[in-house]
């Protein structure tokens, strides 16, 4: 970057996150596990508590004053969160998280495939031999639902491979995505590699063969300015708890034509017009996909989270995290025995790095860091195929959020440099 990064007022930001101010194993907590789950600012907690202690009532169902108030707060939250990703309110379906969102899409397509949808859903039906394309870098959440959909419909699951440097093999993409391809699902940012994938190119390939695109935006929504309609994807999912919001809520964005055509997934109350003992008629989106009592206070909390992010500014968040990412990457490269996963030169990235420590198992490395107060994630990070592709079963992953500081990255790097000697591995 040529211009200096906008400076965040980190002291003020950190003061908003109560959890960060604690000691772990006698050292100040350095929380570098935000890709797993983020910490919540007081504003999010307050929004939920205020809803529960003042306005709580069943939404979309009651005529009493409290219920009307709750309904308004709930629908305002939808508009706020939809706006955060550039969407219209009716293009945002609440889910219980990204995993639930991807399953929703996969099961709705499955239901379309067995004729459970309106005539408009027929073009989305999968037939034996049709192809679903994912990437080798998939989180299990964006892989197994497609394996199961393929098994249910007879479709074939194919994948775009990842190159040694962690970037997607776009030549492979161009040959894998073909006339039988009906669905292309991929991560905006892999939760292991941290690289921003070429969404426009993948969307163009999918469009050229008439396939729909499903974007896993879990690791981009908290870290980049996001305009899902502008990205051109048909469907996209994200998780509240990874973007400063509550657990148990997520969003599914869909282009209106796609949402309108898809049959429902979960069924039950609040998504119907007329129900007899024999059959039910379904509401238009988003309600068609929102069966039963929704995550009401969580929606209010998530709206507070995106307002918090917007208050800081997503450009500033991204620039700050990018600077931390550079500091981490540079530091890690200079420590002997560290192998970074996905160190593609010049890649657009978010603030995370996964790495292997030569001679030390990731679990042991993580334990050592923990003894210094540094919380990182160790394991396969729900991406076993990607780890296998790099010849390992587990790695260490440090992931930053807007509340992390350069000093914390220094503590982290210093701790990493002590791992191999503690375990008696000589380089």
């Amino acid at each position: 970057m040529s211009s200096p990064a906008p400076v965040l007022d980190l002291a003020a930001i950190r003061a908003d996150f109560p959890l960060l101010h604690q000691e772990v194993n006698g050292a100040p907590l350095v929380y570098l596990d935000s890709a797993a789950t983020s910490q919540k600012p007081q504003a999010v907690i307050d929004a939920e508590v205020s809803f529960l202690t003042r306005s709580n009532a069943a939404v979309h169902r009651g005529a009493h004053t409290l219920a009307a108030e709750a309904t308004e707060l709930f629908e305002d939250a939808r508009a706020t969160v939809a706006g955060f990703v550039g969407a219209a309110p009716e293009q945002l379906v609440w889910t219980s998280g990204a995993t639930a969102g991807i399953n929703l899409v996969a099961y709705a397509l499955g239901n379309a495939s067995i004729g459970r949808g309106a005539p408009a859903s027929a073009p989305f039906a999968l037939r034996p031999g049709d192809e679903i394309v994912v990437t080798e870098s998939e989180h299990h959440a964006n892989l197994i639902p497609w394996q199961e959909l393929a098994a249910r419909t007879g479709a074939v699951l194919r994948h775009i491979s990842v190159q040694d440097d962690g970037s997607l093999d776009m030549n492979a993409a161009a040959s894998v995505i073909g006339s039988r391809t009906r669905v292309v699902a991929f991560p905006h940012v892999s939760n292991v590699l941290g690289i921003v994938n070429p969404v426009a190119d993948l969307v163009a390939l999918a469009r050229s063969v008439g396939a729909i695109t499903v974007l896993d935006a879990c690791q981009s929504a908290p870290h980049l300015p996001l305009d899902l309609p502008a990205l051109g994807v048909d469907l996209a999912v994200f998780s509240g708890h990874k973007m400063l919001g509550p657990y148990a809520i997520g969003g599914l964005f869909g282009r209106s034509e796609v949402l309108e055509a898809l049959p429902p997934f979960l069924t039950g109350g609040s998504m119907i017009t007329t129900v007899t003992l024999d059959e039910a008629q379904y509401l238009p989106p988003p309600q068609r996909f929102e069966a039963g009592t929704q995550p009401v206070s969580q929606a209010v909390g998530l709206a507070a989270a995106v307002r918090y992010l917007e208050g800081v500014g997503m450009d500033a968040v991204h620039a700050h995290e990018r600077a931390l990412e550079r500091q981490m990457g540079d530091g890690l490269r200079s420590i002997p025995g560290i192998r970074l996963l996905g160190d593609a030169p010049g890649a657009e990235r978010v603030g995370l790095w996964a790495f292997d420590v030569e001679g030390v198992h990731a679990h042991d490395a993580g334990q050592f860091l923990d003894s210094r107060g540094v919380a990182v994630r160790v394991g396969h990070h729900c991406a076993q195929p990607l780890h296998r592709r790099f010849g390992i079963t587990a790695s260490v992953r440090a992931s930053a959020a807007l509340y992390n500081t350069a000093d914390e990255v220094d503590v982290f790097l210093d701790a990493v440099s002590g791992i191999r000697s503690f375990f008696g591995v000589t380089s």
Partner: protein
């Protein structure tokens, strides 16, 4: 006027008890019918627009069951059309403008009252806009009217 009385004005209760335009007219000439349902309470309405040869709205009739707000609103809509249509009928553009204005007022949370000169008895529905949960009840007939014209 208490909250409740601003919602249930005398005129509204009158219309709901002695509804106008209730009972669907025969489908003679150009006409179109719409069926609408409020999924929350199960209220339903079937509304028929008959049009002149030129495509202007001749009359509106309806049938259905529902709360006093939804019944009064349908009745008021029917009588408004009856008053304004005259011999040449009400141009569809005017009807659309009426519907748009009605929707805007009802969604205004009490900030945009309906003009009695324009809306007649239906202006009494202005009070509904403060009861967000009841806006759908008042809109039901008007949405059916809009939908029927779109089908005509």
């Amino acid at each position: 006027m208490s909250g409740l009385e601003s919602l249930y004005q005398e005129l509204i209760l009158d219309h709901s008890k002695r509804p106008q335009g209730k009972g669907l007219a025969d489908e003679d000439g150009r006409n179109a019918t719409s069926h609408q349902r409020n999924p929350i309470c199960g209220d339903e309405i079937t509304l028929r627009v008959r049009l002149t040869a030129d495509g202007a709205v001749r009359d509106v009739t309806w049938d259905g069951a529902g709360c006093s707000i939804s019944q009064a609103s349908a009745s008021m809509l029917a009588s408004l059309v009856a008053e304004d249509a005259g011999d040449d009928g009400m141009p569809q553009a005017s009807a659309s403008a009426l519907i748009d204005g009605f929707r805007e007022a009802l969604r205004s949370r009490g900030t945009l009252p309906l003009d009695e000169e324009v809306y007649g008895d239906a202006a009494a529905l202005s009070g509904v806009s403060k009861f967000t949960a009841r806006v759908k009840c008042a809109m039901l007939a008007w949405v059916a009217f809009e939908d029927a014209m779109a089908r005509a």
